[in-house]
């Protein structure tokens, strides 16, 4: 049995909570409206080149192991997987067949897998990649590790998935298999 005086207290409490909810709703709507994401901030961020998901992949140019030069900015409009690796790194060696398979599978959709070797000579890279594991995808040499530093690579292998706009869609550290590569490719392959 609720005493009348308790009933008054309960009624007061109900009014207090109803009031609090109304205030929260009003302030919340006001704050959400006030803190809309400014379009100039979005535009500013979209123009930045940084090794982070959502930003443009930093531009670079490096020599192919088979001769010729690769320039990232010329790849705009086509999806790209940038794989930082080295022959002395066991997980990098392990994922080579999967990278080759993905290159073969999606080449018709414009996908390129680009292997960026870290700090080794062309002879060592050619011997391993072209003769031992028989990869066909393009390989470039980052002999001074400048591109690795530009991309903040601190562990091998590290793989960047870059979409047709040149924007990084995902970054994966560690060896990948076909499934995880397909997952990344799905994010960058759509026009």
């Amino acid at each position: 049995m609720i005493e009348p005086i308790e009933q008054v207290e309960i009624s007061k409490a109900s009014g207090y909570w109803r009031g609090l909810m109304v205030v929260a709703l009003m302030l919340g709507i006001g704050w959400i409206n006030l803190s809309r994401l400014p379009q100039e901030v979005v535009a500013q961020d979209q123009a930045i080149q940084a090794p982070m998901t959502g930003f443009l992949a930093p531009d670079f140019s490096l020599q192919f192991v088979d001769g010729g030069e690769f320039q990232l900015s010329t790849r705009r409009g086509l999806p790209l997987i940038i794989n930082f690796w080295a022959t002395w790194c066991p997980p990098c060696r392990a994922e080579m067949p999967a990278l080759e398979s993905i290159q073969q599978q999606y080449a018709s959709q414009g996908l390129m897998v680009l292997g960026v070797d870290q700090g080794e000579s062309p002879e060592v890279v050619t011997q391993f990649a072209r003769q031992t594991v028989k990869t066909t995808f393009p390989l470039v040499l980052d002999r001074q590790l400048q591109v690795g530093q530009l991309y903040g690579v601190r562990a091998l292998p590290t793989t960047f998935f870059v979409d047709r706009e040149g924007r990084i869609r995902s970054i994966k550290i560690g060896a990948l298999d076909t499934a995880s590569l397909v997952d990344g490719v799905q994010q960058i392959i759509t026009p």
Partner: protein
């Protein structure tokens, strides 16, 4: 930024490292919180409930990982159909987080309720653990540069991704830490389930306020941030539920049903569920 850390010659990716740290700290604090709630019923129950929580989190972890892995395989069915042995090849990013988390939460609750721990005791203890885990995850975001802030002129701004920005990950880490401390402090004084609903209110308020300083939110309708809309909805739901607790205040110790002879509760549910 630090996508990986080199510790004693080992190179460890920061993101998974902080997931592990968050899980470990969250489960430890959740266990201690459940122990405190158990001690509210019978002082000798503290260790038993704490131990049960540790067991439950390990079982939940295994279940969560399994479900996350199977769900991921389901999402990429064609690849795994062509090469079924790939299911055993565990690689970075080959887990579906949301189904895994839902499964882990369900298993945690089910396991503890099977051992006669009330559902609201589980949610209350887990709420404290979740707040601690969130604080750790946000520190991880700060280190990797994920979920970065908007540009700012404030003197405490930090250079991230080419601009001086709000260290919003640290704002968020501090707010989750404060929420965790608050929940821990009031844990034994609140009614069953109230700690959980206070986490909903506190966490929603934190997201509602601090998402404004982030540069990475998904948006709708010309810049309105989706996380803020969701947070406002949850905030209102949380306040509505808390109003029921406020109308019929009963300290936890007074309305908890007494434990049976083995020191455990006879029912899986407790009083707060009847109040609403």
């Amino acid at each position: 930024m630090f996508p990986v850390l080199s510790i004693a010659g080992l190179t460890i990716p920061v993101e998974p490292l902080f997931w592990v740290l968050a899980f470990s700290l969250g489960s430890e604090i959740g266990g201690r919180a459940l122990g405190r709630l158990g001690a509210n019923l019978v002082p000798s129950q503290q260790e038993r409930w704490q131990g049960l929580y540790s067991q439950a989190t390990m079982v939940a972890l295994v279940a969560g990982l399994l479900v996350a892995r199977i769900s991921y395989a389901g999402m990429n069915f064609s690849v795994y159909r062509d090469s079924p042995t790939l299911i055993f090849s565990i690689r970075p990013g080959t887990f579906a987080a949301t189904p895994g988390l839902i499964a882990a939460a369900a298993v945690l609750g089910f396991w503890l309720m099977r051992h006669s721990v009330g559902l609201w005791h589980v949610t209350d203890a887990t709420a404290v653990g979740v707040a601690a885990a969130m604080a750790i995850l946000k520190v991880g975001h700060f280190l990797t540069g994920a979920a970065y802030g908007q540009p700012t002129d404030m003197p405490w701004g930090i250079v991230v991704w080419g601009m001086v920005r709000h260290p919003v990950q640290l704002y968020e880490a501090s707010s989750w830490f404060a929420i965790g401390l608050f929940l821990w402090w009031y844990l034994r004084r609140l009614q069953s389930g109230e700690t959980f609903w206070r986490l909903i209110v506190g966490g929603s308020l934190s997201i509602l306020v601090l998402a404004a300083f982030r540069a990475t939110s998904p948006t709708v309708m010309g810049g309105v941030r989706v996380p803020q809309l969701v947070a406002l909805g949850l905030l209102l739901i949380g306040l509505y539920v808390l109003s029921f607790y406020a109308r019929s205040p009963q300290p936890r110790a007074e309305h908890d049903s007494p434990p049976d002879e083995e020191g455990s509760r006879s029912s899986g549910f407790d009083a707060a569920s009847h109040q609403m």
